[in-house]
Subunit: 358 residues, 2 copies
Amino acid sequence: MTHKNLTIKEIAQRSGVSISTVSRVLNNSPSVSNEKREKIQAVIHENDYQPSMVARSMVSKRTHTLAIIAPDINNPYFTDLISEIELIANQSNYSILLFNTMSAGNRKVETKDSIEISVFKSILEKQVDGIFILGGDIDKEDLSESYLTALNHLNSIIPVVVIGQYQNGVNCHFIDRNLKYGVTLITQHLLSLGYRDIGFIGGEPKIKITTERVKAFKEILSLYSSVNEETIILNDYYAKDGYQAIKLLIEKNILPKALVAMNDQVALGAFRALNDYHLSCPEDIAIVSCDAFPDADFQTPRITNVNQHNHDLAQVALTTLLFYLDTTEILPENMSQHLPELVIRESCGSKNIGGLKL
Amino acid sequence: MTHKNLTIKEIAQRSGVSISTVSRVLNNSPSVSNEKREKIQAVIHENDYQPSMVARSMVSKRTHTLAIIAPDINNPYFTDLISEIELIANQSNYSILLFNTMSAGNRKVETKDSIEISVFKSILEKQVDGIFILGGDIDKEDLSESYLTALNHLNSIIPVVVIGQYQNGVNCHFIDRNLKYGVTLITQHLLSLGYRDIGFIGGEPKIKITTERVKAFKEILSLYSSVNEETIILNDYYAKDGYQAIKLLIEKNILPKALVAMNDQVALGAFRALNDYHLSCPEDIAIVSCDAFPDADFQTPRITNVNQHNHDLAQVALTTLLFYLDTTEILPENMSQHLPELVIRESCGSKNIGGLKL
DNA sequence: CTGTTAGCGCCTTCAA
DNA sequence: TTGAAGGCGCTAACAG
């Protein structure tokens, strides 16, 4: 910390011009003589001068920073999304301010007042240009009044894009994941393979992601077979939950012939539990997952799952947010997202391993 | 975007006082009459007023923001560290600006000029108070001259803490991971179980993490047995690399009786490859890992590995950075980090499953 | 094409 | 205990 960054004033002095001229070359204004421009650029380079974003923000009211609020960055679903958003944001010259609220995951923190509400305050202070909410409180079936108020207030000052299911009474922009299509696709796959006795495991109850998926699961299943509520085990989104679910089903002696798992981690936990009971997937039971995580192709068995195309999600979310940064109008057209895609591997017991895509 | 945040000036007007008085209550200055203080606080609450961090930063030269530069946030090692740092940083009222350089991982970007150097520029603009570098270019055996210059320049303006191995010629503060101890521990474990024919898989060549671990591995192995260079396969840090390594060893017909994998993901890929060749771990070959990732306990087999106590790392890194934020002196005492810890599970073939910790 | 001036929102002297 | 004034580094009119 010996050096300090120079100011525009010092660059002006060393270049023998006024600060406005320096400011002009900084902002690529055409109305600067080549001679002075070159001189100034030289001085800028010599001194490794970087204009202060803080001062610029002061004037422009833009920080070129986007906030991401995520409940658990140890969950691959969120990191996938974050790294995707970050990549595209950087290309548009935005930086990412990350808020990991820990409202999910191993280190889940329980407080009477939601952490997210306090995060909203920090974000307001920081004056980011826009905000992504990737999950957390917003996914709850019953939103608290205080959360709703805080979120709407936030959104009235800074545009918020939520990647998740639409919530009544929330004024943010929502990017829908089309959960229904994905579950339907994969359940149908099991049905087509001949399975009729199908259960569902994983996912926190009272959370929209869970309820929507379970609802769609029941809908499609009931068309061809019957739903057995006992084999629907909702707990949480992690490997431990898949493990626990299988344990429960086996202990109650109601293990079905096939299971839809909330995501790959739940499926992983399920595999492990089966192994502990000397059962195996897919021989004894087929297990598929609604949400693809990395390494699905390296598990044993390789996991048949749904690719929700998070890459698209991130793209759409960013485009949407960037749009609302500049205007309060309605986004003209819905951007195209790829539909969730069934990826058939081994865990479903299908013989069509590899290649086959629906 | 109907509302806008009020300014201190408006709060002053609505409270019937001057802006300096408002500023005083904002900063908990004692010299304000209770009457005015209460009036002002009421107005602040009514209007959900949040002072502008940007304006404050303009004056204080502090943004209360820390940057994290990581090469691949899809890698659990980095997310672990990030979420840990974020948690502690938040408690000290710092926000995290995340830079995912993508210099590692599936989407690895190759450019002649390092992305990190351009990230350094963004960071300089943003005027963060301090910087963490979690990996990436800094881990290379041969640092480019341009990178070195850029990093040292950065560090001369903003304090940088690197979580990684010390590099000659770099002026940042380093937090060492004690890689040697971990590998030694786990190799010794294999040796104690009676294995003599032990290989090493995973890890990018020419990267310090790799070279240090391989070096330590060879050192301890050569004390009890002999090193076979052919069974040391260095490629990268992911599941695909474990897979590829096993494939190679089998095809060359030199699969050893035991392997040390760079991390759990490499081990996972190795398991998968073994299965494809109708071999299994630990029956046919023992595989252990140097770096624990989440879910090690849910893999089949459960992975015997080393817990590098990343929690500690984050803690020490943050404390160090916070210290150097305020002073240029030398940190008085080395903070204690837990030593890497051997966690015995199933993949080593040990009968002492569970419980046993060294 | 160039320089002067007036803020952006806040903190910090300095007087009162 | 309070208010007025100046300045943080930069941009954006406005004159020249």
